[in-house]
């Protein structure tokens, strides 16, 4: 379903606040129908990049197109075709569900407003509760309402800034099913998230750290290109073992996960040597496994930090 038409194509996007560089020379290309996952630690510039794309912030430098329109000169026209969902629920809690949707529809000057709002309410399954205050909705429902409100004017591009933060797993799954449905209809989605399971549901990922886009590609290619080797260690007294393994420089990441240990590093040989004593003990079960996305991202963040300092 990924077409070749670039919906977002920006180069050298930069933005500073005072002397803090929030976004530094970011190049970003997102194709039609993509679900582009935008990852990175807190304060890495995810939100700023999204705000730059939808015209909420003016870039200091950079050029390119969004929906075929110039990001610098035509931000007002871009706004009309973009649905932007903020990190924090930013519709009116003291308006009812229906009143919120009505407001959005009016602001976009939609013809057939009533039908559009009815349809949105129907799809949300909130027809029965349309006269409830939006502030009374649970976190998950608020997110779904926000998504439906920013889809109301039928944008071609959705920018979602951590849409599922603080939402329960079932609501998150429903939310992502909806995103996939939208993607199937040819809508391009750029979504920032901290959740690895969500990252895995994207078909392309970008990892931003300290304002730099340090990794980009499909989840599989990011794992493959990372050069990471990961071992899974299962056995008794896992925390002591973890402390011992951390003595080896080759064991770059040692992550306890329940009763198991994920040990990753880029130096395959040295890592194997570090693990050899454990392999020889019968109490331990040691096996190679696929590196997880999380390990890949932590590595991306650490290497970019090393490059910085």
């Amino acid at each position: 379903m990924t077409g070749q038409e670039a919906i977002i194509d920006v180069r050298g996007l930069s933005k500073s606040f005072g002397d803090k560089v929030a976004v530094n020379q970011v190049n970003l290309k997102v194709h039609k129908g993509d679900i582009f996952g935008f990852l990175g630690p807190n304060g890495s510039g995810k939100t700023t990049t999204i705000r730059l794309l939808c015209g909420l912030l003016t870039p200091d430098a950079g050029e390119g197109q969004c929906l075929g329109l110039d990001v610098l000169a035509e931000s007002r026209r871009i706004k009309r075709q973009v649905g932007y969902m903020t990190q924090r629920f930013s519709f009116y809690e003291d308006l009812t569900i229906r009143e919120n949707l009505d407001f959005v529809a009016r602001v976009y000057g939609m013809s057939g407003r009533k039908a559009a709002v009815d349809e949105a309410l129907h799809q949300l399954g909130l027809e029965q509760r349309q006269h409830q205050l939006a502030g009374d909705l649970s976190g998950g429902w608020k997110q779904r309402l926000a998504l439906s409100a920013c889809m109301l004017h039928q944008p071609k591009l959705l920018l979602l800034d951590e849409p599922t933060a603080g939402v329960d797993p079932q609501a998150r799954r429903d939310f992502w099913d909806e995103i996939h449905r939208l993607s199937g209809r040819g809508i391009t989605v750029l979504v920032s998230t901290h959740y690895m399971d969500e990252a895995e549901r994207c078909n392309r990922l970008g990892y931003i750290a300290y304002g730099h886009l340090v990794g980009e590609g499909s989840p599989q290619s990011l794992v493959e290109e990372s050069g990471l080797v990961t071992w899974l260690v299962d056995g008794p007294d896992i925390h002591r073992v973890a402390d011992e393994l951390r003595q080896f420089p080759a064991a770059e990441q040692v992550v306890p996960f329940g009763n198991r240990l994920y040990v990753s590093g880029t130096d395959e040989k040295a890592l194997g040597q570090a693990l050899r004593p454990l392999m020889q003990q019968a109490a331990f079960h040691v096996e190679r496994t696929e590196p997880r996305l999380e390990d890949v991202f932590i590595r991306l963040m650490n290497t970019s930090r090393e490059e910085r300092w």
Partner: protein, 377 residues
């Protein structure tokens, strides 16, 4: 756990101090408000206004009339701003509020004086604000006996007599009984509108910022002017409801006269409401949160009440305070509304008080639009 711990109390006190120190505006308010109040009450306010503008309408100019005018000016309560022989002009000056008093010297005054007929002069006062004229009129009574002491000598000395050579009659225009409510109630309309309009709108945009809904609004294709006007319109209606309540009370409870045109009232109030709403919107687009917006509107409100002529006579204030007062919309509205209700001023007479309001709207709206953040930069 003990019921009351000084140590825990100290923890809270310390935290409050740290937070207080961080909140610069509140800190500035705590220092600034007493200073402003001291300045305003201490220097600006004067309930015994002097040097009030006086016009003299005189059919003749003789040594005697000149002496009387001189004696009036000498009381310090009057400043002669205009000498005219036209009754129409004198009336207009009074209606516009350009002068507070008109002394009318009738034709043949000197002749009657010299004949010992005890002729009368007419002192007309703009008594819309009774407290502003009371002391001046009291001073006028003093001069009846003394003004001509030096002129009436020799053979004319007998004219001084016991009752004085002439007398001055008072005419308290617009409010002959000197009823304070006539002045206060229309003024109150201005104060109430200032208070509610500014505060309500000041909170309007700040609330969007504070609740995070501004980000959403900015991401949508709404223009700043649309947001501003859209937020103003509902409050115009609220303002008119307030006006209706106050007008009803002033008519049936306080029996304040309603001399002027109703249409002019409605239009003038609209201009004034708009002026206040633009202040509110501008305040709210400058301040970062609702508490700041409230504090800033209070900053505006205090001088509005004290320096506009609502509580204390405008002409009693020193020059600098009058300059500040002139920049406030309430000052012009008070002149407008008192002129309309009590003097029955028409459109032409109201205009001098309305255009400053329109100018005010233009300037403040401009500042507000410049400051409105179209982006989140």
């Amino acid at each position: 756990m003990s019921a009351f711990s000084l140590y825990r109390l100290w923890a809270v006190v310390l935290k409050e101090f740290v937070q207080l120190r961080r909140d610069r505006l509140t800190f500035a308010m705590m220092i600034g408000i007493p200073l402003i109040q001291l300045t305003l009450f201490g220097f600006a306010i004067n309930s015994d206004p002097k040097h009030l503008p006086l016009a003299v309408r005189s059919a003749e100019s003789t040594p005697y009339t000149r002496s009387i005018i001189e004696a009036l000016v000498h009381t310090d309560y009057f400043t002669l701003v205009r000498l005219t022989d036209s009754e129409a002009e004198a009336d207009r000056l009074l209606a516009e509020g350009k002068v507070q008093f008109v002394l009318a010297i009738p034709p043949g005054f000197t002749r009657a004086l010299l004949r010992g007929e005890h002729p009368a002069l007419l002192m007309q006062a703009d008594a819309t604000d009774p407290s502003a004229t009371a002391n001046a009129l009291a001073a006028v009574q003093q001069i009846e006996g003394q003004a001509l002491t030096h002129d009436l000598t020799g053979p004319l000395a007998h004219l001084k007599g016991r009752a004085g050579a002439f007398q001055i009659e008072f005419h308290r225009r617009y409010n002959p009984e000197g009823i304070t409510q006539y002045n206060i109630v229309p003024g109150l309309m201005g104060v109430i509108l200032t208070m509610t309009m500014i505060m309500m709108t000041a909170l309007a945009i700040t609330r969007e910022h504070e609740r995070g809904t501004m980000e959403n609004l900015l991401a949508m294709p709404v223009q700043p002017l649309e947001v501003m006007i859209g937020k103003i319109v509902p409050y115009i209606l609220v303002g008119y409801v307030q006006v209706a309540v106050i007008m009803a009370a002033s008519k049936w409870v306080f029996q304040v006269p309603m001399e002027g045109s109703m249409l002019l009232l409605v239009v003038g109030i609209l201009v004034f409401i708009l002026a206040n709403l633009t202040v509110g919107i501008t305040v709210s687009s400058v301040s970062r949160n609702q508490a700041q917006a409230m504090q800033m509107s209070f900053f505006f409100l205090l001088p509005s009440i004290l320096l506009s002529g609502f509580m204390f006579p405008f002409r009693g204030m020193p020059e600098w305070a009058q300059v500040i007062g002139t920049a406030l919309p309430l000052t012009h509205f008070l002149r407008f509304i008192r002129g309309l209700l009590l003097k029955g001023n028409d459109w032409a007479l109201a205009w001098p008080h309305l255009w400053p309001l329109l100018l005010f709207i233009l300037i403040v709206m401009g500042v507000g639009l410049l400051r409105y953040r179209r982006t989140l930069d």
